[in-house]
């Protein structure tokens, strides 16, 4: 029997209750007459401090607090994929059915449909076999893109006493019984896991494969690794959300978990409206069938916002444990940190930098540490990964603030968004001079194998052109463009081509939105070839103006819009035309002599 306490103080989402002997940290409790969900976040003798996941107005001291004896957990099993949940995994679809379009308090709905039957196919396991945590007992075709693996939960081992035959079962029916040291244990397709505890795995492995995103600047210059940790900070309107939506759409991942944490309601509506209509470029299946949305928007209760990223990553870990590549996006971790700050403030804790609690840094790194490529539990080897990308929303776009700074200390990929680029509508507004990926070196082998040994030198040359451009621009700003030599102007024109014809990529153009890594390679090659020829021609005295008037220049600018499957062909044709046009330029006597 769990105890019942009494509310003695209410301040927004924070409630203090007495008579809470035996309460545990992070225990799930039901607060007040309406039995609103809450979580114990502080204990002092018999007093517990509770963060409540719903609005507390109307609640009075004296109302009860019921303990559940269980930590805040998510329910894991078939039926999660394609769903949209709030920060504590309540399905928003069912909430709408129950109470209409406006939220009401005190709604309790299971995360997974209890009545739906799933087609279960047992794995190659026989009665009498010994099985242990992570072993697959059977599979369920959850969506056209996801085969759900029903696994022995962590911490459990035993002999199979019975195993369900192929057939349709609900998530609550026993599909197996294990004889364990503690006796018989029935296993169902659904299991629970506390959100604040990372799910266990065997070993962490190095990240050696890129998480391809279809975004040229990322895949070419600053790649993410499968199992990596990345961050995309930027002021408002610089393109964080669009980029995370792009990743959710195009990342070559088996599962996408998108956490809308304290951001706009319409952005979730946008995903819900667009994703079901979009196809996975690799399989042609609807993208929504690999996606899980967690939506705790800015106007929803902040305690549930705080929980939302944990709900998201725990779901991610569960699919990782099946041996899948999972990518999680959190938009925005700053709103999560603000929720932490607000609750900490109500607890009257000693504030750290800018009012954030002193444990901000450790909470952030605990979260990002849950990313990784791992050997998952189970007797047969499987590898799974979770890649995590968090948006950061620095006040005043000033990256020196605590959330950005603490994040930068952890993550390995930094895509720094630049307000000046966004104002000029250069998108993605990722600054190519300040951004970095610490994974590039370990991914280089993959790229060389996939694209050829010249990849790294092409990439290096392009980056160096952009670097030189910056230095030359400095001169222009001081003394004007007249001061530049002809060869320096060639560099500026080459860099401009890379910026405008390669790095700029419209998320809204049906073709440009996604670019395969092969297309990146061919495009980059043509552009750099053009640059080489331009340089050579200029050295021979041809006017840059004449070179830029070649028809091929416009063709290069439109390569972005060539469909992925024609990119190789078109790029090669463009290259041939380029050679010809340069020859003609020399032949026509230009300035240079052939």
């Amino acid at each position: 029997m769990n105890g019942v306490g009494k509310i003695i103080r209410i301040s927004g989402p924070v409630v203090i209750a007495k008579d809470m002997h035996g309460a545990q940290m992070y225990e799930l409790v039901k607060v007040g007459e309406e039995k609103l969900f809450g979580e114990t976040i502080g204990i002092e003798s018999d007093k517990a401090t509770i963060q409540v996941y719903e609005e507390t107005s109307g609640m009075r001291p004296g109302e009860t607090v019921e303990r559940t004896g269980k930590p805040l957990s998510v329910e894991l099993g078939p039926g999660i994929v394609g769903q949209i949940y709030d920060g504590i995994q309540r399905p928003l679809t069912s909430i709408q059915e129950l109470v209409g379009p406006f939220f009401q308090r005190g709604v309790t709905i299971p995360a997974i449909d209890r009545k739906k039957k799933w087609e279960f196919t047992p794995a190659d396991v026989k009665v009498g076999d010994r099985v242990a945590e992570g072993d697959v007992l059977g599979t369920v075709p959850e969506t056209p893109l996801v085969t759900h693996k029903v696994m022995v939960p962590p911490g459990l081992r035993g002999r199979v006493k019975s195993l369900a035959k192929e057939g349709a079962y609900t998530v609550e029916e026993d599909i197996a019984t294990l004889e364990t040291e503690e006796g018989l244990v029935g296993l169902q397709m659904a299991q629970f896991w506390p959100v604040r505890r990372a799910r266990p795995y065997k070993t962490k492995l190095p990240s050696t494969t890129p998480l391809l995103t279809g975004q040229r600047i990322i895949d070419t210059f600053f790649p993410m690794a499968k199992g990596g940790q990345g961050s995309i900070p930027g002021g408002f309107g610089t393109g964080k959300t669009v980029m995370l939506h792009q990743l959710a759409q195009w990342a070559d991942s088996n599962i996408i978990v998108y956490v809308g944490c304290g951001e706009r309601g319409n952005e979730m509506a946008e995903v819900l409206e667009r994703f079901p209509k979009l196809e996975d470029p690799r399989t042609g299946k609807p993208l929504m069938t690999r996606t899980i949305l967690i939506a705790n928007t800015s106007n929803m209760p902040i305690a549930a916002r705080e929980a939302s990223i944990y709900t998201g990553i725990t779901i991610g870990e569960y699919f990782r444990d099946m041996g899948y590549d999972v990518a999680l996006m959190a938009d925005s971790t700053s709103r999560w940190a603000e929720a932490l700050r607000e609750i900490s403030g109500r607890l009257e804790e000693m504030p750290g930098e800018e009012g954030y609690p002193a444990y901000l840094a450790s909470r952030l790194s605990e979260f990002y540490e849950r990313a990784g490529r791992v050997q998952v539990l189970g007797s047969t080897p499987r590898i799974g990964s979770i890649s995590v990308v968090g948006a950061v929303s620095p006040p005043g776009a000033d990256f020196s603030e605590p959330v950005t700074q603490n994040t930068l200390r952890i993550i390995k990929v930094f895509w720094g968004l630049d307000k000046a680029l966004a104002e000029r509508r250069h998108f993605p507004a990722i600054n190519w001079l300040t951004s970095y990926s610490l994974y590039y070196d370990s991914l280089e082998e993959w790229y060389s194998k996939k694209l050829g040994l010249d990849w790294s030198s092409l990439r290096g040359e392009a980056l160096s052109l952009l670097q030189q451009e910056e230095e030359l621009q400095e001169i222009v700003r001081l003394v004007g463009p007249d001061a530049l030599s002809e060869s320096q102007r060639v560099i500026l024109e080459g860099a401009k081509m890379i910026r405008e014809d390669f790095l700029m990529q419209s998320a809204y153009h049906p073709i440009d939105s996604y670019c395969s890594i092969e297309k990146c390679y061919y495009m980059l090659k043509v552009i750099l070839k053009f640059y080489e020829r331009m340089k050579a021609a200029a050295e021979r005295g041809v006017l840059i103006k004449e070179i830029l008037a070649l028809p091929v220049v416009e063709e290069i600018a439109r390569l972005k819009l060539v469909p992925v499957d024609q990119a190789e062909k078109v790029c090669k044709e463009t290259e041939a035309k380029m050679v010809e046009q340069f020859e003609n330029l020399y032949a026509s006597g230009g300035r240079g002599t052939a």
């Binding site: 001291p61 304290g262 319409n266 106007n299 405008e500």
Partner: protein, 469 residues
């Protein structure tokens, strides 16, 4: 409302008054967030709300301020109610004060319902993504930062800039093409001058729209803390009209900077750890509970479009009020002093402006197929022109190339011909895009890389009318 007022517990146990806050002891059974009626020593009644409760204490914020209150004779009655606003369609055409009391001398409003002014959050799953183009008749908005129905798009302005003229012009001209529905306007003033309030009132009256307007006035000399509830009253009225009566509502909230100051005042009185520039750390979330009350909902005919106005202290866009607003709203329209000084009206600088929902509202069948590309090209050219302007300031115009000079001229013409327009000039979207094309035509055609060749052939003045559509 009246019934609740007669009941409730009354206390004379005030122990402390601090700024807008009252601390009351020996209370029991007080609900968090409930409405409080405070009786002053000379019999006046004020209202407030419970901010924090304990077993035997409560902290109350008083909306009309605490001047004239004392700890011995002031009494406090807890009503057991949350803050509610009585609604009916008869509120159309009416004027209320910042606490929701009618101040126009009109007949009493017989409420059809009394709604909690804090509203309830819209389930994100229930939202319909906004996509209907609103033609405001203002080129720098329609052409470059298109507004759609259900969007929240603020004006970022500065003191002395003509944001009121712009807002009134938008309210006058806004319409969804091809639809008959007009907008009803819900107008909430927080701390603006009576001149400004009069300007809006007269503008609505002049065009005979006053019976499709609901106004809430908290003026500069009205109690500051009341500003915390004024926008919520307006949004409650809006939600009622939009989602229960199928109307399309345009909400104008002005000035959100004054709202934020009231929030800061409460936070300081509670001795909370201050965030940036003294504003509370939860200001983002608080503002979101206002701005997120806009949108469209599946299955509902009505919509709420929000146009908050805020003045940026020192024209600083990184100030917490514009900054947090920009993080919540779906873009911003940025009014710039330099353009204003040049005599450009509306002085909208499109570069720091943004409409995040533009893409859904434009294109073939909505505005015109070339809209996106024309806007992109205009952006590119204007940004180029403006950065050259800065360069010229340092190195002089002689050093520029021929191409650069063209861009410099483009930027000037763009401001004078595209951005600049009359206060009563209502340009349709075709006109706006055509002006854009006329300006682009002054650039070499090879520069128009953002535009598809077919669109150039179809819309470029050089070819216009010469090629089959």
């Amino acid at each position: 409302m009246s019934k609740a007022l007669l009941t409730g517990k009354e206390y004379a146990t005030l122990t402390e008054i601090s700024g807008p806050l009252l601390f009351i002891e020996r209370t029991s059974g007080i609900a968090f967030g409930e409405v409080v009626k405070v009786r002053t020593p000379d019999g006046e009644e004020r209202s407030g709300q419970v901010l924090e409760v304990g077993e035997d204490m409560a902290v109350v914020q008083v909306f009309e301020g605490t001047s004239g209150l004392d700890v011995s004779k002031t009494t406090v009655r807890f009503t057991g109610e949350t803050l509610r606003f009585p609604v009916s369609v008869d509120i159309l055409g009416r004027i209320f004060d910042g606490s929701g009391k009618p101040v126009d001398g009109g007949p009493e409003i017989i409420p059809e319902d009394e709604l909690d002014i804090h509203g309830a959050a819209i389930n994100p799953y229930s939202r319909a993504f906004p996509s209907e183009f609103i033609q405001t008749g203002v080129s720098s908005i329609d052409g470059m930062n298109t507004l759609v129905r259900g969007q929240k798009l603020p004006l970022f302005s500065g003191s002395g800039l003509p944001h009121n003229l712009v807002a009134a012009q938008i309210a006058r001209q806004a319409k969804v093409l091809g639809k008959e529905e007009e907008f009803a306007v819900v107008f909430a003033a927080m701390g603006i001058t009576s001149d400004e309030a009069r300007f809006f009132k007269e503008d609505f009256e002049k065009r005979g729209a006053i019976d499709k307007v609901v106004m809430f006035f908290n003026l500069a000399d009205d109690p500051a803390i009341e500003r915390l509830i004024t926008p919520r009253l307006a949004l409650t009225a809006s939600e009622y009209l939009a989602f229960q009566n199928d109307m399309h509502i345009l909400v104008i909230l002005t000035d959100m900077t004054n709202y934020a100051e009231a929030l800061r005042e409460i936070s300081a009185a509670r001795e909370e750890v201050p965030g940036r520039r003294g504003y509370p750390g939860y200001m983002y979330t608080d503002l979101a509970t206002i701005y997120e009350r806009a949108g469209r909902i599946h299955g509902k005919k009505g919509t709420i479009t929000q146009m908050p106005i805020l003045t940026m202290p020192h024209d600083d866009i990184t100030h917490p009020v514009p900054d947090l607003t920009g993080y919540i709203t779906e873009g911003q329209i940025y009014l710039e002093r330099a353009l204003y000084m040049k005599g450009i009206y509306p002085p909208i600088n499109v570069l720091p402006s943004l409409s995040r929902l533009m893409n859904e509202g434009i294109g073939r069948g909505k505005t015109r197929e070339d809209h996106r590309q024309v806007a992109d090209q205009l952006y590119y050219a204007y940004a180029e022109g403006r950065s050259l302007r800065e360069l010229v300031a340092v190195i002089g115009e002689e050093a520029l190339t021929e191409r650069d000079r063209r861009y410099l001229q483009f930027a000037d013409r763009y401001e004078r011909e595209f951005v600049n327009q009359g206060v009563y000039e209502n340009r349709d979207i075709e006109k706006t895009l055509d002006i854009g094309w006329d300006l682009l035509a002054a650039l070499p055609e090879g520069e128009l890389k953002r535009i598809d060749p077919q669109n150039i052939k179809k819309y470029h003045p050089k070819y216009r009318g010469k090629v089959e559509a």
